[in-house]
Amino acid sequence: MKKLITKEQVIPLIQNGHTVMVGGFGLTGAPLTLIEMLGDSPVKELTVISNNLGEPGKGLGKLLVQKKIKKAIGSFFTSNIDAVKASQAGELEVELLPQGTMAEAIRAGGAGVGAIYIKASVDTLLSEEKEMRVIGDSKYVFQEALKADVAIIKAYKCDTLGNLIYRKSARNFNPPMATAAKVVIAEVEEIVEVGQLTPDEIVTPHLYVNYVVLHRKEGA
């Protein structure tokens, strides 16, 4: 399979200062193997776009402890006390977005849409410095689309072309992130021959996927 790469090939794809989207809701659907690979890379000063920053020492929490993350854009970091402390200490720049605003901004980024207007956070502390617009009889907050240099995502299976399917709620942010980065690397549990995934079940068509890393689940 042409898109299948190794750790040695992954590492140079993510460079200092890159903006990286990382799939997952907590650790569910997070590309934990790819994150481990980044942990072994000298890369630093990353801007990470991810709903959370893992848990203390787990998932993205590892990269945070290694001080590889300069800025985090996401919706909920309370579940990682290290992230909260790093932010308070001024060691981590944080941009909090309502979860739905973040998800839609990613979808817009992948769809060639420049920005969106959304009601969430109107007239709250979170939107204090943001542009607002009245459409009809409601107020909306302006949000630029989100894009990244690289997206690292987690899928369940891919075929040898790179078509992806997901498992249960491990889907979460992975499909929209697969559309919104220049380079997309998918971690999968299994690779099957083309034709074994039916056109009806494919969620992420192969045109979005540049590279694949295989990590079988323990016991599988």
């Binding site: 809701f25 907590g26 650790l27 569910t28 659907g29 709903n51 959370n52 919706s75 909920f76 970091f77 309370t78 579940s79 006390i81 992230a83 909260v84 402390k85 932010s87 308070q88 944080v94 909090l96 977005l97 309502p98 979860q99 739905g100 605003t101 998800a103 839609e104 990613i106 979808r107 959304i118 009601k119 969430a120 956070s121 109107v122 007239d123 709250t124 502390l125 979170l126 997901y166 498992r167 249960k168 709620s169 491990a170 889907r171 979460n172 942010f173 992975n174 499909p175 929209p176 969620v203």
Partner: protein, 220 residues
């Protein structure tokens, strides 16, 4: 029943058959324990599930299938999975009828604060703002007072508000309040609870219109 169970079971009584209900983290996730087996209420979870059910007994927890609180759940027949962008499109687009969420404080206009505690180790907004702006009815499920016994239903919120929108119902272990035209109305008392006790533990102004049967107030 403990306090959380009292609150969750009261919330369940205020849901109408046929409604699509999003459950937030904490006490709201317990609501599924109080829906009867042939209920036509479907539970939506922000991380991409419609049709959340309790984990079936004797089934191994599956960490690819979790609720908004990242706790393993089950699904019922007819359930579906979707990505985070679609999930919040459902919320913002008005396709979810009810949201049940927690709150740090509710002010006397029925507005909530539930995402930020200045000076504390809290750094996240999650899906709260999207839900309060987007869904038809918002039900707050919260303990009546803080762990230190301080009122949570207050004249003015000390913490930053989640939205300018007033919620529809506030359910605690002591009482249920309706919110009408930005005014709190005490509509139900839990068994053995007196109006005096509610007054003592509530600093927000409210009027009293106790309802005989729950059915009368479950339609907003």
């Amino acid at each position: 029943m403990n306090v959380k169970q009292i609150i969750a079971s009261t919330v369940a009584k205020h849901l109408n058959e046929g409604e699509i209900v999003n459950l937030g983290i904490g006490i709201p996730t317990l609501v599924t324990d109080y829906l009867h087996d042939d209920s036509s209420i479907y539970i939506h979870s922000e991380n991409g599930i419609l049709g959340v059910a309790p984990v079936p007994e004797e089934q191994e927890p599956d960490f690819d299938l979790v609720n908004a609180g990242k706790i393993p759940v089950g699904i019922n027949e007819g359930a579906s999975f979707f990505d985070s962008a679609d999930s919040f499109a459902m919320i913002r687009g008005g396709h979810v009828d009810v949201a049940v969420i927690g709150a740090l404080e509710v002010d006397e206009k029925g507005r909530i604060a539930n995402w930020s505690v200045p000076g504390k180790n809290v750094l996240g907004v999650g899906g709260a703002m999207d839900l309060v702006e987007g869904v038809g009815r918002v039900i707050i499920a919260t303990t009546h007072t803080t762990k230190d016994g301080l009122p949570k239903i207050v004249e003015h919120a000390h913490y930053p508000l989640t939205s300018q929108r007033s919620v529809d119902l506030i359910i605690t272990e002591l009482a249920t309040f309706r919110v009408k035209e930005q005014q709190l109305i005490l509509s139900e008392l839990a068994e053995g609870v007196t109006i005096e006790e509610v007054k003592r533990k509530t600093t927000a102004k409210f009027i009293i219109e106790l309802t005989e049967s729950i059915e009368e107030i479950s339609v907003s």
